[in-house]
């Protein structure tokens, strides 16, 4: 059976309602937040209707059931990324997950230690390490982005040394769509005994992973980019590593025993989940995972590759006519996500996005929380389209037509 994005649109209330009203939403900002299917909305609502109570504390039936649902969600998410459930730490978002890693792992670092960060990364995988640098006296080494908006592992040789303790990088760029070649990164890190943390927020929506085989140590991602609720993210860490780290935050739920004389910690993952966790959101994330899993992954990948190629080809055709379009990122066919950024000479990304918004085309313009990358590319910002399985050719064509109109008006 051929892949049918229209069926997926019908499963997503926001898109289905707009389609029925005859004013379809051309939602091309999935790298920021993806749309949410009815099954996810319903899972969250049903949890709050039937099971709402705190977890891991109460002994009444509701609390037992809520705890079971929360831990079942952990198991679903763990299975999706090839991890053990006790390696899955729920956080409020991907940024919080990375901050937890930085705070906890940072406690093991000493002045003079070094962390490699990349120009390609989202601020959420840069700023926590900058904060750590100022707190702990560690140094940051910047892994430069290539002019194509990728990371070249060959550059790591000059950056990784005996004091390197961690390499923090994006598994897939939220700006250029470039996918990281993980193996040489892991090899470079392991040569000096360093850890590897990847920001997987852009990769996880595109299918299940096997983190146990990637060779990395930490992985972070968010729920709302993978058709799940807002308010939930995930930090994965290797079990032995999590067990060796102190907590990032203190409070209820993360302790073994609290006494006036001192406190010891719960085992992971509870050690890193201080306070009431995002219970309903975890249940919703599990529903999102199941929604992704029931898709035909091969068909989805082929569909997204077709749309990405159509978009890149269309932009290149516009450039052939008008000579103002610059693609920022790997060309079609390379290791890339369906995230396409471009610059229109003489037109600001926000002006372009504003004009396209008038025809219900939802794009993102600006620095995409990646200002070091923009500095490296010599740009203030880009216009970005990011695709999901429920997008179709009409979405891409509406974008290209809108860009053509915007160029005529703005340049």
């Amino acid at each position: 059976m051929s892949f049918d994005p229209a069926r997926l649109r019908r499963e997503i209330p926001l898109l289905a309602d707009a389609d029925r009203a005859g004013r379809p939403i051309r939602y091309l900002d999935n790298a920021a937040t993806a749309q949410v299917p009815e099954v996810v909305i319903e899972a969250v609502a049903q949890h709050d209707r039937r099971l709402r109570s705190n977890v891991a504390r109460g002994v009444y039936r509701l609390a037992e059931d809520a705890t079971a649902a929360y831990e079942a969600a952990r198991e679903e998410v763990a299975a999706y990324v090839g991890a053990r459930p006790d390696e899955i730490v729920f956080a409020s978002n991907c940024t919080a997950a990375i901050n937890i890693a930085a705070l906890a792992f940072g406690e093991t670092l000493a002045a003079g230690d070094r962390v490699v960060v990349s120009e390609l990364d989202h601020h959420s995988n840069i700023v926590p390490w900058q904060l750590l640098a100022s707190r702990r006296g560690i140094a940051l080494d910047w892994w430069p982005a290539t002019p194509e908006g990728t990371l070249d592992p060959a550059r790591l040789g000059a950056l990784v040394g005996p004091r390197t303790r961690l390499i923090a990088a994006s598994h897939g760029s939220n700006v250029t769509g470039a996918r990281l070649d993980v193996r040489p990164v892991v090899e470079a890190a392991k040569r000096v005994g360093a850890k590897v943390l990847l920001d997987g927020a852009q990769v996880v929506p595109h299918g299940a992973l096997d983190l146990s085989k990637l060779g990395i140590d930490f992985y972070a991602f968010s729920g709302h980019k993978m058709y799940g609720p807002t308010g939930i993210g995930v930090l994965w860490g290797r079990r032995a590593l999590l067990e060796a780290l102190p907590p990032a935050f203190g409070g209820g739920g993360m302790i073994g025993r609290v006494a006036k004389s001192g406190t010891n910690w719960a085992a992971p993952p509870a050690r890193f989940e201080a306070g009431t966790p995002p219970v309903a959101q975890a249940v919703g994330l599990a529903a999102a995972v199941n929604w992704i899993r029931q898709l035909d992954r091969g068909a989805v990948e082929a569909h997204l590759q077709m749309l990405t190629t159509r978009l890149i080809d269309g932009l290149q055709a516009l450039d052939a006519q008008r000579r103002v379009v610059r693609l920022v990122g790997p060309p079609a066919g390379h290791a890339r996500l369906p995230v396409v950024s471009f610059d229109i000479k003489g037109a600001h990304p926000h002006d372009i996005c504003q004009m396209l918004a008038e025809t219900n085309v939802c794009l993102r313009g600006g620095h995409h929380c990646a200002q070091p990358l923009m500095d490296a590319l010599g740009l203030a910002g880009t216009t970005r389209a990011s695709l999901a399985p429920y997008n179709d050719e009409n979405d891409v064509d509406a974008l290209l037509e809108g860009i053509d109109r915007a160029i005529a008006r703005l340049t």
Partner: protein, 139 residues
């Protein structure tokens, strides 16, 4: 179409780029950034007595920001600090509540009235005025 925002007067102001550049010997200068989009505006000021005698701006920003800087260049020359602050407040009220702009030197900012319903773009119009206010604060 988005001509509700990008109407001819806005486009003309931006294209005009009135007073773009730098003063040779500014008596006050300031740069402000919009953290949401990374846009940046720098403003140089010179004074004769209590009044602004010259203004130049450097905008790395959107068309709305460019248009606002050009409108500011028209409005600022001859204005006092109080005039400028009143103008900034008037623009804020126009964007927030649709309040009419007073006649006079800030009348060109009326072109931004359609921006009122686009809250995420308000700072685009305000950025040059915030830079000018910041520059005034350095004197």
């Amino acid at each position: 179409m988005s001509d509700a925002i990008y109407h001819d007067a806005i486009v003309a102001l931006a294209r005009d780029a009135s007073a773009a550049g730098a003063l040779d010997a500014p008596q006050a200068t300031a740069t402000v950034d919009n953290p949401l989009c990374g846009d940046r505006v720098a403003v140089d000021l010179a004074f004769e007595g209590e009044r602004i005698s010259a203004l130049r701006h450097r905008v790395r920003g959107c068309l709305l920001c460019q248009a606002s800087a050009a409108a500011l260049a028209i409005a600022a020359v001859g204005a006092t600090r109080e005039d400028l602050r009143a103008g900034t407040a008037s623009l804020a009220a126009l964007l927030k509540d649709g309040a009419p702009l007073p006649d006079g030197r800030f009348a060109p900012f009326a072109a931004f009235a359609p921006l009122a319903r686009h809250r995420s773009r308000h700072d685009c119009a305000k950025l040059p005025l915030l830079a000018a206010e910041k520059a005034l604060g350095t004197t």
